[in-house]
């Protein structure tokens, strides 16, 4: 469905993303993990049109969308959320979500109705008339999700929708993400909460220092020595293997 091939982006000589490729098959949940500063959010920005790649291409449903402006990419069915949530603080929850639904619905009343529908899906039906500025972090993350969902996407790019949430809230939002997947929307997510990554994703990519260093089933990827080293430092994989041998012996 989505395929990024060999895309690179550097900022003043610093390569944020170099020759990274990834594929997201339809109907799946694919995750993108990696240490802080690995370039995950930059890669999202490159896919969703907020940044233009220096080289490489992004195709969506076999059409080249490289370098298109974000609103055009959104209208084609790819919507992103922001790691640092960006609610329209002066508006109510209902109005926030309706901004999303207006992308495919011209009529105000219908867009507001659709907003209610989407709010129910993410569990915000009781908060519809609250100003967005009143929401807790968990509420804001949900709103971010709801607004994006209201645009009627076929692929959602979720940037750390679970960061900063407690265990119960993570659990709730995992359920919402699964519900979204079950409604037929493909998902690519950036996540640090490993428990969520393991339980949610069908496929995981690992990005480190701008390069894609591994990709595969979440459990296999986590055992990959290159991945362990990326997270824990040079030589960590060997030390862990030795430790494992000792405990087994």
């Amino acid at each position: 469905m989505l395929s990024a091939s060999l895309i690179s982006k550097s900022f003043g000589g610093l390569a944020a993303v170099s020759d990274a490729s990834l594929d997201v098959p339809e109907g799946k949940i694919v995750s993108l993990v990696g240490p802080n500063g690995a370039g995950k959010t930059t890669l999202f920005a490159l896919i969703s049109g907020f940044l233009k790649p220096d080289t490489g291409s992004v195709t969506f449903n076999n059409e080249d969308i490289t370098g298109q402006r974000p609103f055009m990419i959104c209208r084609q069915g790819i919507v992103r959320t922001f790691q640092v949530v960006q609610p329209f603080t002066g508006l109510s929850v209902r109005e926030n979500i309706a901004v999303g639904s207006h992308t495919r619905i011209a009529k105000r009343s219908e867009a507001l109705l659709k907003a209610e529908e989407v709010a129910a899906l993410v569990g915000m039906e009781d908060l519809l008339d609250r100003p967005a500025s009143d929401l807790t972090i968990a509420g804001r993350k949900r709103l971010e999700l709801a607004r994006a969902l209201a645009t009627g996407p076929t692929l959602m790019l979720l940037d750390e929708v679970m960061a900063g949430l407690n265990a119960t809230e993570v659990h709730e939002i995992v359920d919402v993400v699964l519900k979204i997947r079950d409604s037929g929307i493909t998902i690519l997510l950036i996540e640090h909460v490993m428990q969520a990554v393991m339980s949610l994703s069908d496929h995981t990519y690992v990005l480190n220092e701008g390069k894609m260093i591994a990709g595969g089933k979440p459990k296999e990827v986590m055992r990959d020595p290159k991945v362990v080293e990326a997270y824990l430092g040079h030589g960590a994989a060997e030390r862990m293997a030795a430790l494992e041998k000792k405990t087994n012996a």
Partner: protein, 338 residues
């Protein structure tokens, strides 16, 4: 406040404005209302771009003056009917706005940068109007001829063809109708997709773009609509005062009036510009009467007072008079229901 009670309040307000000339014969009071409605129209045009769209213009005189000059030149120098000239004035103003808008929004100018570029354009046109002597009569300004012949009054836009009542109150009703139309358009914008997207751009441009909004086109739409509305104010001014000169057309005071009214009255609300306009003209009259009584006629005293009021409003009432009214209403209604 329910939609029904809102409609009732608007209806009563409109009715009292319509009937006003039947009861009030004081020229000063009618003139006060005319200027209040005129500034409300200017303020509403600014409100669409600044209040709903978050793009603070500091040079709305650019649109006002351009329309006023086009109208005056075509009417006086070419002898065109005002009814035909006005569409050229609107089109010319929209053209200027599209140039300024394209330049600003294409290159992502925001906040104070946008304010500065609008101010700069207004000043540039101010200088042009002063120096293009053969077209604009320079600093002397263009004086339109008053037509005493009732048969030609329509083509010179005066109301002396229509009997004594309308020749006194014709301009009052003209600006009242213009204001009602402009406010209706604003209400429609507020309840449309365009309005929702415009507010989203104001609140957070990046998020708006991510949600499928063409932020450039939305902002362009707002500045073109705003300029078109301001141009009606410019056209009205020329008909009413039969005179335009560079300082009136492109001077800072029109730009300031246009932004004062909605900021004091309530940004991004339909009623705001009218409340604000009433407030600043009321305060203006009072200062003229009372302060003028003590310190003599010193021009600028009311401006100092406006400055102080603006600071106080910005610091303590960010939602303006409209926000204050709605809080009071909530308290009253809440107390009644409890």
């Amino acid at each position: 406040m329910s939609t029904r009670s809102l409609f009732i309040i608007w209806g009563l307000l409109l009715l009292s404005f319509i009937l006003m000339p039947l009861f009030i014969t004081s020229n000063r009071w009618i003139g006060f209302l005319e200027m209040t409605f005129f500034v409300a129209v200017m303020g509403q045009s600014w409100n669409i771009l600044g209040g709903y769209g978050g793009q603070y213009s500091f040079g709305h005189a650019l649109f006002f003056g351009t329309a006023a000059y086009i109208q005056a030149i075509m009417q006086q120098k070419f002898g065109w009917s005002p009814w035909i000239a006005m569409w050229f004035a609107v089109a010319g103003t929209v053209l200027v706005a599209s140039f300024v808008g394209y330049l600003s929004f294409r290159y992502g100018l925001k906040g104070s940068y946008f304010a500065l570029i609008t101010l700069a354009f207004a000043e540039a046109f101010h200088v042009l109007a002063r120096s293009l002597d053969s077209i604009t009569e320079g600093g002397r300004g263009i004086q339109l001829l008053l037509n005493q012949d009732p048969d030609k009054a329509i083509s010179a836009f005066q109301f002396n063809f229509a009997g004594p009542f309308l020749s006194s109150y014709g301009f009052y009703y003209t600006i009242l109708i213009a204001m009602v139309l402009v406010f209706a358009v604003t209400w429609l914008v507020e309840h449309s997709r365009f309005g929702a997207q415009l507010v989203a751009v104001r609140e957070n441009e990046e998020a708006a773009e991510a949600l499928g909004i063409n932020t450039f086109r939305t902002k362009m739409g707002a500045i073109l609509l705003s300029a078109a509305i301001t141009s009606f104010a410019g056209i009205y001014y020329v008909q009413k005062y039969l005179f335009v000169e560079p300082g009136i057309a492109y001077g800072l005071s029109k730009s300031v009036e246009a932004l004062f009214a909605p900021i004091i009255g309530g940004l991004g609300t339909v009623i705001g510009p009218l409340l604000g306009s009433f407030f600043i003209h009321g305060v203006g009259e009072i200062t003229k009467d009372f302060i003028g009584h003590y310190v003599g006629d010193r021009p600028g005293v009311d401006l100092i007072l406006f400055g102080v009021i603006l600071l106080l409003v910005l610091a303590h009432m960010p939602r303006g008079l409209a926000g204050l009214l709605s809080d009071v209403w909530k308290r009253v209604a809440g107390g009644r229901n409890a």
